[in-house]
Amino acid sequence: MRAIETSENMPENSEGRGQLSMSKRLFPVLTVVSLFLFVTAPIIIVRAPYESTMGLVQKIFYFHFPSWMAMFLAIFILGVASGIYLFRRTPAADRLAVAAAELAVIFGLMGLITGPLWGVKAWGVWWQWDARLTMAVILELILVAYLLLRQYGGAGSERLAAGLGIFAMANVPFLYVSTEMWRTVHPRTSVVPTLPVEFGIPLWWSFAGFIVLCLALLSVRSRLEEQRATLERLYLALEEE
């Protein structure tokens, strides 16, 4: 009991608690919303018309594109949280960064799996070194490097990882431009805003589902990290007794 009191006196904890209660309240709401979107998405996707040239296989697009967008959201959060942690040393920002990096890897993997599945039907090949694919693979590499650094960097690796997180986010525009300058067989991004309504509704529906899912997982994952930190503090306090 005394150990718990000691830990509550730590200045870091008081600020952490505010975040805990917020994510505690946010998580159920986000989960219910994303569940609703994901359960209804298949119905909407089935009702959407077939695309004239690709037919059924085009429907994978409704999962492929949103998973990349969720990854970019996660990378953006990773970069901003890393910057905040590096200059302010806010522990909550570091926990958010870990959560965002892991989610970016997961959503990136989803994109990398659904991409070739679509590509083999639409282009006739599993893999093609076109601009977007190249960029996706490199981003995935950077994110995995981030996780490796956190895992094997030893003490103080959060600080180093924060530095890397900023570099990862700053890399996105350069990767985009440098890979884009290679000839591309991938549909241009300008396809998305000009999509007819019947294709647009299922797309943005899934898009919302993925983004909300990403935020829900983000809140629960950073809460896990926070509880882990609290547990560690309690252990340390107990050992000091």
Partner: protein, 227 residues
């Protein structure tokens, strides 16, 4: 000379002096770069003829590999006897220390590149000297981009136990844009009908990469190095 540049110069002079006495980094990096090009030539020269378009890639991969080797030991001398702590405790701008170390690495890589370019031109019959100034600009900007990220990563990994493994693991993915730009720019100069407009475009991209990542490195060096 302003205080900032003076500190950078002092760090650089210290490194140059140590290096001029034992020449360890220069000789080992140079030897590694030469053997790297030779290994590539065994792989990519068949029947006395180099594989088409291989030269630009080999040039840049060799620079990246030997650069990693040099960067891995950039802060090795500072690790002994806790010299890094002393350096960071000095009442000077921390980014100036970074600049001094970066300049040292750039000088070392410049020497390595001078040898590698000649060797690649010779072994792969690549017309590298056709547009000397453009090639020089590509090499300079590319090396600055690679080394600016690398020096920062090398500094931040100096206290970790797995630094030898982690440096390439972190450095290569982040500097891939530099390699893409460098290789494509050089390839544009080397192709049978050189595409100068394309090379200029890649030079411009490299310049903006350098500007962004140098700024980021100066900006993050202090918080990353502060315990």
């Amino acid at each position: 000379m302003s205080g900032f540049l003076k500190v950078a110069w002092l760090v650089l002079r210290k490194d140059l002096r140590v290096e001029s006495r034992n020449r360890e980094m220069l000789f080992t990096t140079l030897f590694f770069a030469v053997s790297c090009v030779l290994v590539f030539s065994f792989g990519f020269v068949r029947g006395g003829q180099a594989v088409e378009g291989a030269a630009s890639g080999i040039l840049w991969i060799t620079i990246a590999f030997s650069g990693t080797l040099a960067l891995g030991r950039a802060f090795e001398r500072e690790r002994n006897h806790d010299a890094l702590r002393g350096l960071l405790l000095a009442p000077v701008d921390r980014p100036a220390i970074y600049l001094g170390k970066l300049l040292g690495i750039l000088l070392l890589l410049a020497v390595v590149e001078a040898v590698v370019v000649v060797l690649v031109a010779f072994l792969f019959r690549a017309p590298l000297f056709q547009y000397v100034w453009r090639l020089l600009t590509l090499l300079t900007l590319g090396t600055i981009g690679f080394a600016s990220v690398g020096t920062l990563f090398s500094a931040m990994l100096v206290r970790t136990t797995n630094r030898a493994v982690l440096l390439p693991v972190l450095l290569y993915p982040v500097t891939i844009p530099v390699l893409i730009m460098g290789v494509s720019g050089t390839a544009a100069l080397l192709q049978p009908e050189p595409d100068l407009a394309m090379a200029r475009l890649w030079i411009g991209l490299l310049f903006s990469f350098d500007a962004v990542f140098l700024t980021l490195a100066f900006w993050t060096f202090e918080p990353v190095m502060t315990e």
